[in-house]
Amino acid sequence: MLRQFAKPTLACALLLPWAWLAYAIYLETQQTGSGLGADPVEGLLHYLGEWGMIVLLCAFSVTPLSRRLSWPWLIRSRRMVGLFAFALVAVHAAVFAVFYAQLKWQILLQEVTERPYITLGMASLVILSLLALTSTRNWQRRLGSTWKRLHRWVYLAVPLALLHLLWLRKDGYEDLVVYTLWATVLGAERLYAWRVQQARAVITSS
């Protein structure tokens, strides 16, 4: 049961942030400020950034969860969750390029080079784009063992995204504390799993 319905259920859940956004934009077309707040451009940017962070952490959670719960089939949903995270982050960056940099590459370049938090966010986006691009089965086959190494770059993309948020925040770090703890637990689980695997390798080889 769980096994069969996991992926469609997850997909529905992951569509919720988009459904809410569509509704908010509909409200905006009716009356400015009614869906995304008095500064809708800022509201849109932050909404996408916040959910991008959350869904990225969800994607980062799939492997440890499948390991801890002994649900190997959960891995089959990992790419989908990752792509949902990428979509949010990519649109987040697009909103910045359109509404803030006003689609002028000079402004965009200046923002990326002058503001460290944008530099970090952009670096995270570049990594996630590469991962999204090479997420297909075809690329997986083509890259062979390199694929796994490439996709370990998510270990950099997550902290970069956290730093991006930390750096731009003026005060009020509640959500950031939750995200950081979440990412740390996941990182620790991976480290632990790796150590166990190493120990096993030593035992079997001796």
Binding site: L168, D171, G172
Partner: protein, 306 residues
């Protein structure tokens, strides 16, 4: 014992609300712009021809008042928990008349004026607001500051039981909020102690019962819900400068040429702004008040004293 307090002067008693709406229509209709308005010069100084008054619901529901939370909607949601009556203000430092005064007694007998000012936040959004208030110089004069008073420092109420943002464990702000002005800035005719907006009493989320309004500076200088006025010889350390001196200075004059590390200050989003019309406009030096205030900073390197 029952002490009867004098009624607070409501902004609406001084200027009927209809006057605003008439003027608003006038502003929208007038092709000659604001120069033709029959308002005292000071009330329209700095306003540009295409400036339109921001809707009241935006001004009262989109606020930065971290004492109630960091979200822009937090102040409107939680500021009603703050008691503003009774309200006392402590006056101290380099002045002849110091002590603790009832708010009503301080403003009693002072004329409340109406001023339409441009308001520019350091976060690159802006508004145009019809404030009601008393020129700060008239407020300060009654305390008779001495020759040693070079600066004036203000403090916001610190009352965590009524200001939930001050209870926050994950906040790095050292409450109470502090701001300050140089004496010549404080006594400039544009500098206003605000007690109302849109012809009404000042809502809590906008800094009731009174807040500062310095139209040529970024919004964070215009401290809200003031309980302390201190005349000092030395430059006060304002809260944001204390928190991040590389980003926030003491002067904080609106300046499109000096970029904030987090935001470009070259342009601003004028509210109301929408996804379909961002309403972006270039930011003006001193927020459009250069003619009135630039002389205060003659000879100063404004890149250094940001």
């Amino acid at each position: 014992m029952l002490i009867r307090k004098p009624d607070r002067i409501l902004g609406s008693e001084i200027t009927p609300e209809t006057v605003y709406y008439n003027r608003r229509q006038f502003m929208a209709a007038s092709s000659a712009g604001l120069a033709s308005l029959a308002l005292p010069t000071i009330a329209k100084a700095g306003l540009q021809e295409d400036d339109e008054i921001t809707p009241e619901e935006i001004v009262t529901q989109y606020n930065n008042f971290y004492e109630f939370g960091t979200d822009k909607s937090d102040p409107a949601a939680y500021a009603h928990e703050m008691t503003t009556d009774p309200w006392s203000v402590t006056v101290s430092g380099e002045a002849n008349k110091t002590g603790t005064f009832a708010f009503e007694d301080i403003i009693k007998g002072l004329d409340v004026e109406e001023r339409v000012y441009r308001f520019r936040c350091v976060e690159a959004w802006s508004m145009v607001v019809p404030w009601m208030g008393i020129p700060l110089k008239d407020v300060l004069a009654q305390f008779e500051p001495t020759g040693n008073a070079k600066f004036v420092e203000f403090e916001t109420l610190y009352r965590p039981s009524e200001m939930r943002g001050q209870q926050g464990f994950f906040s790095s702000i050292d409450w109470p909020y502090i701001e300050g002005l140089r004496m010549d800035e404080a006594t400039h005719p544009l500098t206003l102690m605000v007690t109302g907006l849109y012809g009404k009493e000042l809502p809590n989320q906008n800094g009731a019962p009174w807040r500062l309004m310095v139209p040529w500076k970024y919004g964070f200088k215009s401290i809200k819900s003031i309980v302390s006025i201190r005349f000092t010889e030395r430059e006060p350390l304002n809260t944001w400068k204390q928190l991040q001196a590389s980003e926030y200075g003491f002067y904080a004059n609106v300046n499109p040429a000096v970029s904030h590390p987090r935001w470009s200050q070259a342009s601003e989003r004028r509210l109301p702004s929408s996804l379909f019309n961002v309403n972006r406009r270039p930011t003006l030096p001193f927020n459009g008040y250069a003619d009135e205030v630039a002389h205060l900073y003659a000879g100063m390197d404004l890149r250094k004293y940001y």
